[in-house]
Symmetry: C2
Subunit: 293 residues, 2 copies
């Protein structure tokens, strides 16, 4: 069994990005700039946004954080999106989800200029991705592909099972892995809460992407010897072992599954660190205008 | 074995559409108007466009056909798209594919106003569909769903195998059938040319959507008893039996598969007639501004 080290891979890619930013600056180019919009004080969102801002600093990007209280109106938020769309200094920006219930998330996301949508959540980016056109790929699926490439795990012809059909992980990673591409050409099955014979399906899988949001869902008796397991789960469960009072649990019963796996990601330290790197990569692509001209 | 009669289902839905159009007109409303752009003289394209125009007449729509020779420039075509986008009388329009090689298909499709994209080919419509937002669903996947509904075939929890990963059939029907929706909630596997154990996968399927473009690909020994088979294939093969000199062959070896199937679509007369009806339905939705306001 080989542990897929997301932390080390992420650090390596961050170094590459930092190097490229240094060269851009040295050549008199503009410093890439990522802006983040944060509404309210959700603990998870605060943590994620803080890590994103910190990561920007690490690679030499400019970053800005625009904060609103929970009672911000949809109109105000849309005005901010419009301002960011038109700010030539901002290359890409994200609106941290979830938003308060009185604001339509999809309205806000569709208001983002697709050329600055570095989260890849705008339907046109998802649609272009599905159509194999240049697009911003959302952070988690892009991070998974980077890990597979880094560890030379080739999904070509493999039976891949995706557990979960979410808009930001399950569906896009399924679409990416089934495409005619270097890190694709897999036979993909998407399982979810309504799947009847999930154990049998998993037992046939060469690669399992677990993104179902149920801690330790994938047990040892559900996988075959030599399987590759990518654990996207990050459920916060209460814990007395940590200072914060909680710890992250993946969707995989690691202790049971790891001994049978050829490669497996830990939680934390697997997919998690890669998502932020994907966001940085997308911001760099936006700054270099490599997706849209 | 029950034959799924696409022709009869299509005729029924056409009657419903015609009735609704009559009521709209009686109430003083605007007649729905579909425009089609046809470039060159490809035999298949000519036939498809002619059937679409004829279907419009049958249900009481206005229709227009804009023709160009093979040597039309991309610029000219984009100008026409722009004109149609801005013509308030045109509710929806299609640009018949394929286009000559010197014209970028995706550029032309992305130039279409998504609100008039009744073919559902614009990436934003595909993306919105994937995100379960209101969208124009492309004709063939929409037609398949109508047939499943009509014959009360519920994919909930079923193992569905989609043969083929095309942008206009394989991927969208896979996305639709895996969604939390009335005619969805299936466990979907997408197979293609690089799939290793396609026979074993098909043998486990409750429903097979064959859209791989290889005549008689699905053989009798690849399906289990009671399977539901939807054949999307329409390859033209030379034939001395028909006046036109060719006949349509599906992706299913009908004579072998039909005896084992609980439901099966014939070719022709299965999915084919439904695609035109889907286009009419989308045009009606566009005219009523039910997808976008």
């Amino acid at each position: 069994m080989k542990l897929i080290d997301g932390k080390a891979t992420a650090d390596e890619i961050k170094k590459e990005i930092a190097e490229e930013v240094k060269q851009i600056k040295a050549a008199g180019g503009k410093t890439p700039h990522l802006a983040a919009v944060l509404v309210g004080h959700d603990g998870g969102s605060e943590t994620y946004v803080a890590s994103k801002v910190k990561a920007c600093e690490e690679v030499g990007f400019d970053s800005s954080l625009i904060r609103f209280e929970d009672d911000v109106t949809e109109e105000e938020l849309l005005k901010t999106v419009d301002k960011l769309n038109n700010d030539p200094d901002v290359d890409g920006f994200i609106v941290q989800l979830p938003l308060p219930k009185h604001i339509s998330e999809h309205k806000v996301i569709e208001a983002i200029d697709p050329r600055k949508d570095v989260d890849g959540f705008h339907p046109i980016n998802l649609g272009r991705m599905a159509l194999e056109l240049p697009s911003f790929v959302s952070a988690t699926p892009a991070g998974i592909l980077m890990l597979l490439r880094k560890y030379k795990i080739n999904p070509h012809g493999a039976n891949v099972v995706v557990l979960g059909r979410s808009h930001i992980v399950g569906k896009p990673i399924a679409l990416l892995l089934m495409q005619k591409r270097t890190c694709g050409d897999a036979t993909v099955t998407v399982c979810h809460s309504q799947t009847r014979n999930i154990k049998e399906i998993c037992l046939d899988a060469d690669i399992i992407i677990a993104a179902i949001g149920v801690p330790e869902f994938l047990k040892g008796d559900m996988v075959k010897e030599g399987v590759v397991v990518i654990d996207v789960g990050t459920t916060r469960v209460p814990s007395t072992e940590t200072k914060s009072g909680f710890k992250l649990k993946g969707d995989v019963a690691f202790d049971e599954v790891a001994p049978k796996a050829s490669y497996i990601t830990p939680v934390p330290g697997g997919v998690g660190p890669m998502t932020i790197v994907s966001l940085l990569k997308n911001t760099l692509l936006a700054a270099k205008k490599e997706i849209y001209n």
